[in-house]
Symmetry: C2
Subunit: 332 residues, 2 copies
């Protein structure tokens, strides 16, 4: 294992120290609690948004802390849920009197720890709502999950909920919007290589030089099938078809996220996006907005994932609203 780290034991804290140094005016990092906050808290009376999860998926979630998106992100160990204590700490710190929305990816540990934290925070008088994102159509009940896994749609939920909170909507309204986005999101991924968790020191799984794993999870959990690696067009088809078949037929065009897993060049992500767009056109699915790049990664895994989210006019307007985070930024 060759990695630009100091020690497998200090990966998360060392990265948070670097993140604090890189964004001094924008972020405040509690390195001990492993929580990333906005440097300037939002105004009193606004709903706050907290997310978090295992590290190794950057920029998700810490990179989405900023005006128009998250108020705080709790970083667990690599591929390991943050503990309730962190989440309570973040929730108490960001509450501005209007309540806090927890955005949780559907993994057993995350769901359990956010639930526990929500109970603890609620007992001290903070109003909490929770949205669980479960958009991965690849498999039900995976290594870390009961039900579907939460992946790329999480970014869209965080963006839209963040914009709604910024506008001054109530906790019930922000939570309902987040739920609508989550319900309209579908994703699937493909791996060309494994990833290597620093603490393990070796690849999480073996993948022969000529094979790919269709339906991979963001922690390297098994997917739907292992197949001979093919070209971009065929890979795109293997992602678009199951997603399109499962996509709610609700009104609205889609927001498309073509996401790199960490080690795939942008050149290849754009090639994949070109293929995906052609297939969506054939399937009669109209693209309203798109995002191509590394957003929900799996350490050094090569591969990509595709996310489609149904978006009505309200969701699109909130998607387009200004955001200023290290990982997502526009329209300031």
């Amino acid at each position: 294992m060759k990695k630009l780290i100091n020690s497998a034991d200090t990966v998360v804290t060392d990265a948070l120290v670097g993140m604090a140094a890189a964004h001094p005016g924008a972020l405040r990092v509690d390195v001990d609690q492993r929580v990333v906050y906005r440097a300037i808290p939002k105004d009193a009376g606004r709903v706050a948004i907290v997310s978090g999860g295992g590290s190794g998926h950057e920029p998700l979630h810490s990179g989405f802390v900023g005006s128009g998106m998250l108020d705080a992100a709790c970083a667990g160990e690599v591929f390991t849920s943050p503990v309730p204590d962190q989440i309570v700490s973040a929730t108490v710190a960001v509450d501005r009197g209007a309540g806090v929305l927890h955005v949780v990816k559907n993994y057993t540990g995350d769901v359990m720890n956010f639930e526990m934290a929500a109970e603890l925070a609620a007992s001290s008088g903070i109003r909490i709502a929770t949205v669980v994102v479960a958009d991965d159509v690849a498999v039900e009940d995976s290594l870390y999950t009961a039900g579907r896994r939460g992946v790329g749609a999480t970014l869209v939920v965080e963006k839209v909920a963040g914009a709604a909170a910024e506008e001054g909507r109530s906790l019930e309204q922000v939570a309902a919007l987040a739920e609508r986005v989550a319900q309209g999101g579908r994703s699937m991924g493909v791996a060309l290589t494994s990833c290597t968790v620093p603490a393990n020191g070796k690849p999480s799984f073996d993948l022969p030089d000529d094979e790919m794993e269709i339906g991979i999870g963001i922690h390297g959990e098994p997917g739907r099938s292992r197949e001979k690696a093919t070209g971009a067009r065929e890979v795109a088809r293997r992602l678009v078809e199951p997603i399109a078949a499962d996509l709610p037929s609700a009104d609205g065009d889609v927001i498309v996220l073509l996401n790199g897993m960490g080690a795939t060049p942008l050149l290849e992500l754009y090639i994949m996006y070109g293929q995906v767009v052609g297939l969506l056109r054939e399937a009669g699915i109209a693209v309203a907005r798109s995002l191509v790049g590394n957003y929900v990664t799996s350490l050094d895994m090569a591969g990509c994932s595709l996310t489609l989210v149904r978006a009505d006019e309200e969701i699109l307007r909130l998607w387009d609203a200004p955001v200023a985070s290290p990982g997502l930024r526009w329209g300031e």
Copy 2:
């Protein structure tokens, strides 16, 4: 070789097709000529900025086309200079009567082809100035270069020149500023793995499982030394020391770019940045601005590079000016 491509022959055009689809309102892509333009040309009387180079370093240069940065980027084949015809075509298309600055990385092919294009464009009455970026302190006279190679400082040159052009400065002024930035920039990189050029189908060089290449070029050109891979702190020291020793002692703090080579997780880049900042503090070099992420990549190479650029108040003001490109975006 496993890659998300259709064919090694169509990598660049397929990626441009995807890029056009991903940024319909912002970019106009001439796929035949392989030039990426802003969708909306800048106002008449403003200096235009054209850059370009081999593909495989995305987002450089095509991802930096947009308001406040480049007017056009010419994409060569992977790791191969664009041809004069492309550059002439881009130069003629973007000239708004105030002349065009060519930003060129110091590789023999790029320098020659941009020179030839500048002569051709000049003969049709367009005023051209050229800045050649040669910031890599690792080696003189490498595989593709006479003199030092051009790497990370190119991004800073393009950003600062782009902002100056947007303000309505003359070609002479924009070129002088670009030259000042280029002169004040120093970089060095490290590779943990090779990259694989699609047309070759195999890694560009061999690097044993426990070794790293210090001073790597962005096409996999040999660096200064091959060594046992060590931790982030030691790698940071091996980059900071030669850069600091070579950095002009001019006034001004530095803009720092901690750049991923393509396959290195953001988590590791932040760890590296934390180490770099500590070493710069020890060396008495004050950081004015920073950027951490994948900006000047080498396909699927794992590793990173460090760039320091001396920045006086004028350069910092232009660095902070609004930019809206797919790869760099703030302060709109």
